[in-house]
């Protein structure tokens, strides 16, 4: 746990996991750097621990959980809109996301 809002699960990870909701516009200090949330971050969701470039692996639990589909800045929400599975597409009620072209 790095503060009351986020946990770091493995020192290799490039994402933090939210353990207490933080709304868009709220500022927080993460590992000594101030950042303002650009989206509502709810429990279980991830934000970037560092700058992540398109194509880079997203690391959680110390292992890859997919790849970035665009550049992601420090503190940004990491989810279906900017990462995808390296195995099989995910889906929401409205649509499939991250399908391999």
């Amino acid at each position: 746990m790095i503060n009351k809002h986020f946990v770091l699960l493995n020192k290799e990870d490039n994402v933090f996991v939210c353990c207490k909701e933080l709304l868009s516009g709220c500022s927080i200090t993460l590992e000594g750097i101030d950042v303002t949330m650009s989206a509502d971050i709810t429990v279980g969701h991830k934000i970037a621990r560092k700058q992540i470039t398109k194509g880079e692996k997203i690391l959680k639990y110390g292992v890859s959980i997919g790849s970035a589909t665009q550049d992601i800045i420090f503190g940004e929400h990491v989810h279906l809109h900017n990462m995808k599975s390296d195995y099989i597409a995910s889906h929401t009620r409205q649509s499939k996301v991250g399908e391999n072209e």
Partner: protein, 397 residues
């Protein structure tokens, strides 16, 4: 600990009479019999289809001879394809009470319900005389499943169940985990935990099969709620789900209905063999719970983040909730608050011990939350499996 001794030597932690319908056309009659009994220990299971299916027969045989089951009433319409004679013979050979009522031969709905009520009443009376004997932890079979997973599941609940599994296996119990479609991405690390290299190869093949199957279906084992809860990809969900297996060696790879002969950790391959033919590998969590019960599970540990409320017929389901907000919202349905881990209020080990203690209490008769709320969900559909290969259950230890 004590258990109900069955004539085939198996020991149960509940004393249930089952009413099972063998085709949807017999569902109403079977349901009416169960409803008119007004007893939690008279439970309804069944199979909807008219065409025969070897898998459904095997699972039904496993359920009707489960150690928690004292007697079975089969309700058949009469013209369906389910091999009711074989099912009845299997139950009879196990020493359990058995009766078959065929609606077409029994004068229809009303008369079959009346006959069924009399039959079930007699079976309950017989069940009340079941011999109660000492039962050891090593005789317990415990399964685990996750449902309604979110980004917290892999942090609190799943690793805590893994700790509980390690402790049960140290006591020589049988533990099983499943859903190879939710282990996509974990195949190499699982193979390294297999007790033989050949078993490791079988495990890798089973996960590759799952990936091919789910790709053909067009969806991974991934629900919209998973994404709403912060999970972005199948492999992220897999890594969290995998933690339920703990750190023991993997002793075997089984398929639904296969019953492990000795203690240890087993992976259940729930994805059908051959070309996809009956649709999704598991249409819903309850179908997976049923498969693990058919393989002998006395108790299922169900981890959740979004908040599943289901239970099961035959064997109690214990809910382990990973998300502290969900726990606060659904605490009437949740047995264990694993949300304490992500809030920093408890360690994974503490919650693991809490789960272990509750497993023993439920095994001794305490009702789980879903059980006391009357949840007895049941789903059985069509599937096709080949028998497991010779490398799947190594005899070496």
């Amino acid at each position: 600990m004590k258990g109900y001794l069955r004539k085939d030597g198996r020991k149960g932690i509940r004393n249930v009479v089952l009413v099972t319908y063998l085709v949807e056309c017999a569902h109403h009659v079977a349901r009416a019999i169960v409803a008119d009994c007004h007893r939690d220990d008279v439970q309804l299971i069944g199979f909807p289809g008219c065409y025969p299916n070897d898998y459904a027969l095997k699972i039904m045989e496993g359920l009707c001879t489960h150690p928690n089951v004292a007697g079975v009433l089969i309700v058949s319409l009469g013209c369906e394809g389910f091999n009711r004679e074989q099912l009845a013979n299997t139950v009879e050979a196990s020493g359990r009470s058995i009766e078959t009522l065929v609606i077409q031969k029994n004068g229809g709905t009303r008369k079959t319900i009346e006959a069924g009520l009399a039959s079930v009443k007699k079976m309950c009376e017989d069940a009340s005389h079941a011999e109660i004997v000492p039962m050891d932890i090593s005789e317990l079979v415990v399964g685990t499943i996750c449902g309604g997973s979110d980004g917290t599941s892999g942090i609190g609940a799943n690793p805590a169940v893994g700790m509980c599994f390690d402790k049960l296996i140290a006591n020589d119990a049988v533990c099983m985990f499943e859903e190879t479609g939710e282990l996509i991405g974990c195949e190499q690390i699982m193979a390294e935990r297999a007790i033989t290299p050949e078993l490791g190869e079988e495990i890798i093949k089973s996960v590759e099969k799952a990936e091919v199957y789910y790709t053909r279906m067009g969806y991974g084992s991934f629900a919209p709620g998973n994404a709403e809860g912060g999970l972005s990809t199948q492999e992220e969900k897999s890594m969290g789900a995998y933690a339920k297996s703990g750190s023991s060696k993997i002793h075997g790879l089984i398929k639904p209905g296969d019953i492990p002969a000795q203690g240890g950790l087993y992976l259940m391959d729930v994805v059908p063999d051959g070309d996809p033919m009956f649709g999704f590998p598991n249409i819903v969590d309850s179908a997976e719970i049923v498969e693990m019960i058919a393989s002998g599970c006395h108790i299922t540990l169900f981890t959740t983040g979004r908040g599943s409320v289901v239970g099961s017929a035959i064997s109690p389901v214990i809910k382990v909730c990973a998300n502290p907000e969900t726990y606060d919202n659904l605490s009437d349905d949740m047995d264990i608050n694993a949300g304490k881990v992500i809030k920093g209020e408890a360690t994974v080990e503490q919650v693991g011990n809490e789960i272990y203690d509750l497993v023993l209490e439920v095994a001794q008769g305490k009702q789980s939350k879903s059980e006391s709320l009357g949840h007895q969900e049941f789903v059985l559909t069509y599937k096709k499996f080949d028998a497991i290969g010779p490398s799947c259950l190594p005899t070496v230890r």
